[in-house]
């Protein structure tokens, strides 16, 4: 019986995936960002150069800046590339190559690597009831953020998040060692996932190793050996060749500045705005306030302080703030390490990293929206929260696709997502008795309702979109070109801040 159920479940999930694959295939000719060329270049670097030169090559401006395992992943893919078209992996003549061959090849690698996401979702949901399972599938596999970033913009987030979900699912099963091992692997694929490392550390220490002196020590050593082995496997060769400093400097380009060209909707948006506001007021009051030499709206940000009044922010400050923000959750994890809460804590940690981190990309919001989807089906409150945060974070990714061709696609994806969430959550919290009588009663009452404030906020989102997409270009044209993006960042930052506070309260209570 159980076997049958599982089979059924696998089939179901596979079906979801297959349907999303058809859409992914259709998205092949859509707009692709420079990330596409970045990854093509990495294919070429790892294919044609020895390992010792990977992190030194500067043939293209898109140098390798992910950890070594990702480079190995690209190398693995590059074995297949020449079968399709040898020019793809040519370091020089392949630059900015944009034939169909390379587009199909790279897009299909993303589609295929999404299988890890499939596996992660499968492991996480195999013991849940049908409705929850379906909902999680729909929320993760059809997440507009993932589709937009991976299959239009071009990245491999589905693959990496899939690995993370597999790791979370092992923790949830109580198999801490495997979970820890997988997380170490994820870290060596993309170091941005490190934000959740403190959570993993505290949780594993407490839940896995805190079991009496002898067993505990043995487990601690085992875990340590496993994690160190992963890191040695990834970074060892570079340490051996004495290149580790170069690798680290590539991975952490702190010269890039506090905010990305398009501000991720996080805490620093308020900080910048407060600074501008203060400077403006003080000038009005007659104080002599210097105009900062670096600007936030001009794109790239240099080393000089971009703040006129408020203190300069350094990477160390942001690091301390992230850690501070995560602390409550660490304490909670230490006091009561429950496998069922790990997904929630990890999502919270990524939210903190997103809000207070250094040079955060808007795409990093995926790191918490995807794990939150797992949490969303756990309670009514979670569902309400997820409904809001997932819409906001997906919307904040809209500016990534700025060309008109993809406009209907991103809008429809988001609408569909919202609709599916609404239908799914309403169904989940529908009174069963009412449902049985549904033949007669017209409308079935559901406990899933969106509050007034949330509704107002979401309507505001629509207004923001109308202003930034239509009214601004119509009335102001090219003047204040930074305004629409600023408006979107600021408005979405409010939603993400709210989500952070909500998650924090949820974890503490």
């Amino acid at each position: 019986m159980d076997h049958h159920r599982n089979n059924d479940h696998r089939l179901h999930l596979l079906w979801f995936f297959a349907v999303s694959t058809t859409l992914k295939l259709l998205l092949i000719p859509s707009y692709r960002s420079t990330d596409f060329e970045v990854h093509r270049n990495w294919l070429a670097i790892t294919h044609s150069l020895p390992l010792t030169k990977w992190y030194f090559d500067e043939t293209s401006q898109w140098t390798l800046d992910y950890p070594p395992l990702f480079a190995h992943f690209e190398r693995f893919l590059s074995f297949f590339a020449p079968l399709v078209d040898p020019k793809i992996v040519n370091l020089h003549s392949g630059l900015d190559y944009s034939e169909d061959s390379v587009i199909y090849f790279q897009r299909i690698t993303v589609i295929v690597s999404d299988l890890s996401l499939f596996f992660g979702v499968y492991r996480l949901t195999r013991k849940l009831e049908t409705l929850k399972r379906n909902l999680i599938c729909a929320l993760v596999v059809w997440s507009p953020g993932l589709l937009v970033v991976d299959h239009v913009h071009f990245q491999y987030n589905g693959f990496l998040l899939g690995l993370l979900l597999v790791s979370v699912s092992f923790l949830g099963d109580g198999r801490d060692l495997v979970g820890g091992f997988l997380f170490a692997v994820v870290l060596c694929f993309k170091h941005l996932f490190a934000v959740a490392a403190p959570v993993y550390f505290v949780y594993l220490l407490r839940h896995y190793c805190w079991v009496g002196l002898v067993t505990g020590l043995r487990r601690l050593v085992t875990l340590g050996v496993v994690v160190v082995a992963v890191f040695v496997a990834a970074f060892g060769p570079f340490v051996y060749y004495g290149q580790i400093q170069q690798v680290i400097s590539r991975m952490f380009p702190f010269g890039r500045g506090l905010c990305h060209a398009y501000w991720a909707p996080n805490f620093w948006v308020f900080y910048i705005i407060l600074d501008k506001g203060l400077a403006f007021t003080l000038r009005k009051l007659g104080f002599d306030v210097q105009v900062p030499s670096a600007s936030f709206t001009g794109g790239l940000v240099g080393d000089s302080s971009p703040f006129a009044v408020l203190p300069q922010i350094t990477p160390l400050t942001t690091f301390a703030m992230v850690l501070l923000a995560i602390t409550p959750c660490l304490i909670k994890a230490w006091r009561k390490p429950q496998p069922g809460l790990v997904a929630r804590w990890i999502a919270y940690a990524y939210t903190c990293g997103f809000l207070f981190g250094w040079h955060v990309h808007e795409k990093a919001s995926l790191h918490f929206t995807i794990p939150l989807a797992i949490v969303a089906v756990q309670s009514l409150e979670d569902a309400k929260h997820y409904f809001l945060v997932s819409i906001v974070s997906s919307y904040s990714l809209f500016p990534l696709l700025y060309e008109p061709q993809e406009y209907p696609i991103k809008v429809l994806l988001l609408l569909l997502h919202a609709m599916v969430m609404w239908l799914g959550f309403s169904a989940q919290y529908t009174d069963e008795k009412a449902l049985k009588k549904k033949e007669k009663a017209g409308e079935i009452k559901s406990k899933f309702e969106i509050g007034f404030v949330e509704k107002a906020y979401l309507i505001g989102l629509v207004l923001v979109e109308i202003v930034s997409q239509f009214l601004h270009p119509y009335f102001l044209g090219d003047r204040f070109a930074f305004m629409p993006l600023m408006l979107i960042s600021t408005y979405c930052a409010v939603g993400i801040m709210y989500s952070w506070i909500w998650q924090l309260r949820r974890i503490l209570t």
């Binding site: 929320l139 059809w142 239908l423």
Partner: protein
């Protein structure tokens, strides 16, 4: 997100049999009612459409004639720049040999409205003469959006109307699945949003007319169907069905002549309004008419899986007969082929039978009428879509072969990837887990067609040959002596399936009605 799945709720028959709580796989998508699930599925359908629209259109980058995209764009150029009376007339500003307007006036008005929109946002794409062969990122996008919006504004509401009416007295179980079948119809998406045409408008109006028949509003039917006819003359494929069904119903009234008169007036008034600019002189009217019926192009073109084209391999129709005599022969053949189902509807008009009649008459036209395009399979296919819940298996096969019959065309348009993806998507949704579309049991007992031993075998052979042909068409260069060898093979294969299908549906229409009548009698007795 997405939904997707419309798919059926508690599998059709099973829900009634098993007292299982409604914890089926898909009930959560449809528990809010038909309209809500329709909205959800239509969002998904629109998403798929906008994704397909990123692919190339017919004739992209192939001067001097380009393709259907250029034809539509050219009509926008003509209609926005010239007065209505000159739209169909050859003149210094309107060269009819270059994609001259050859659809009825409603298409021209639609081009005019879309042309105005294009002129606002991208004037150079519709400027007289200088815009010929215009191709640009924004031009393509705006054109694509006009199709998307036509679909969303006409086809979708019509489909909703149909679904609401059709399912009002039925078990709710198959609704979502049926909606998905109608909205994610791969043929329509590929032709409209890939190849580039506005079939969604005329088909949408037709669906509206069909829904109006089902809800008993005959005047509305006449208005909608007249509009559909004035948009694309190919809508006439359905005319016998409408005509015979409405006639059959009127004959059963107390005052048959009055009822017929009422409908006749509705038709005439609609036509007069739509055709008004061309009704001021007989010459104008004939000029438009002659544009609509391009008899000089011969009885068939290319490789269409219909009777004339397929048999022409053996019988050279074009050499044996003159065009005028071919005209009468094809007319006679068409009428003969659609006659049985017409007679059935006149004798005993019923909703179900009407849908079958639509299918049969459009299939008859596809098979036997003059100058059929491969795209015309959309008409019989639309009718089959509406019947999808009744004949799910046959519908599945028809979709496969209808798509296959357009395969060479879509390959020429470089739409191979959307062809494969949509095919896959259709198959997935058709077989969505938790959906057991069961064949109506009544049929199996009364009929032997599908249980005929050779039938299964034939179907399987067809299927394997078609798979083989797909591969061959894509990989092997045809012999120089017969450059269209594979097209011809595909055509023969599809034709032979279509013939089987047509025999089945004609048969079903007659047996069904007898079954229906006896069931009806029983009910009355009770």
């Amino acid at each position: 997100m997405p939904k997707k799945k419309p798919v059926n709720l508690p599998g059709d028959g099973t829900a009634a049999l098993l007292p299982v709580p409604p914890m089926d796989n898909w009930w959560w998508l449809s528990h809010k009612g038909t309209t809500t699930s329709f909205l959800c599925i239509s969002l998904f359908a629109l998403l798929i459409r906008s994704a397909v629209s990123m692919f190339p259109y017919s004739g992209a980058g192939t001067p001097p004639k380009f393709g259907d995209f250029e034809a539509q764009r050219h009509w926008m150029e003509i209609t926005t720049n010239l007065p209505a009376i000159d739209w169909y007339r050859n003149g210094t500003h309107n060269d009819l040999t270059y994609w001259g307007l050859d659809y009825p006036p409603l298409t021209a008005y639609q081009s005019y409205i879309h042309g105005i929109l294009l002129r606002v946002f991208n004037p150079e794409s519709v400027s007289l003469f200088s815009s010929r062969g215009h191709e640009s990122y924004h031009g393509k996008l705006l054109m694509r959006w006009t199709v998307l919006s036509s679909d969303a504004l006409i086809f979708f509401p019509a489909a909703l109307f149909f679904v609401l009416v059709y399912h009002r007295n039925r078990a709710k179980s198959g609704v979502a699945w049926h909606i998905a079948m109608i909205l994610l119809n791969p043929c329509l998406i590929l032709i409209d949003h890939g190849h580039f045409q506005y079939n969604c408008i005329s088909l949408g109006l037709t669906v509206g007319a069909i829904a109006a028949v089902l809800c008993g509003s005959e005047v509305l039917t006449c208005v909608f169907f007249s509009l559909a006819l004035s948009h694309k003359q190919m809508s006439a494929y359905f005319a016998p069905a409408f005509f015979s069904h409405l006639l059959g119903k009127c004959l059963r009234r107390k005052n048959p002549i009055l009822s017929v008169l009422k409908l006749g007036i509705a038709v005439i008034v609609t036509f007069v309004i739509v055709w008004w600019p061309y009704l001021h002189s007989v010459d104008d009217f004939l000029m438009v008419l002659s544009r609509l019926a391009p008899f000089e192009r011969g009885i068939y073109e290319d490789y269409v899986a219909n009777f004339w084209c397929t048999t022409s391999i053996l019988i050279k129709w074009k050499k044996l007969f003159t065009t005028p005599s071919l005209k009468s022969i094809s007319l006679a053949a068409t009428v003969l082929a659609s006659l049985p189902s017409m007679v059935q509807q006149i004798l005993s008009p019923s909703d179900e039978g009407f849908l079958y009649c639509l299918l049969n008459s459009s299939m008859a036209f596809y098979m036997f009428s003059f100058q059929v395009h491969e795209k015309s399979i959309l008409m019989p296919f639309l009718a089959a879509t509406l019947l999808a819940l009744k004949i799910p298996d046959h519908f599945n096969h028809l979709t496969y072969y209808a798509l296959f019959s357009m395969f060479p065309l879509l390959c020429r348009d470089k739409l191979l990837l959307p062809y494969l993806s949509l095919h896959l998507l259709f198959t997935l949704i058709y077989h969505s887990p938790g959906t057991q579309i069961t064949l109506p049991k009544t049929k199996a007992s009364s009929f032997s067609f599908t249980s005929f031993p050779g039938y299964r075998f034939l179907l399987r052979t067809h299927f394997f040959i078609s798979l083989f042909l797909h591969v061959v068409y894509l990989t092997i260069q045809p012999p120089q002596k017969y450059p269209f060898l594979f097209e011809a093979l595909i055509m023969i294969l599809c034709f032979s399936y279509f013939v089987m299908f047509a025999i089945f549906t004609n048969y079903t229409q007659w047996t069904f009605s007898s079954h229906f009548r006896s069931a009806d009698k029983e009910k009355k007795r009770i």
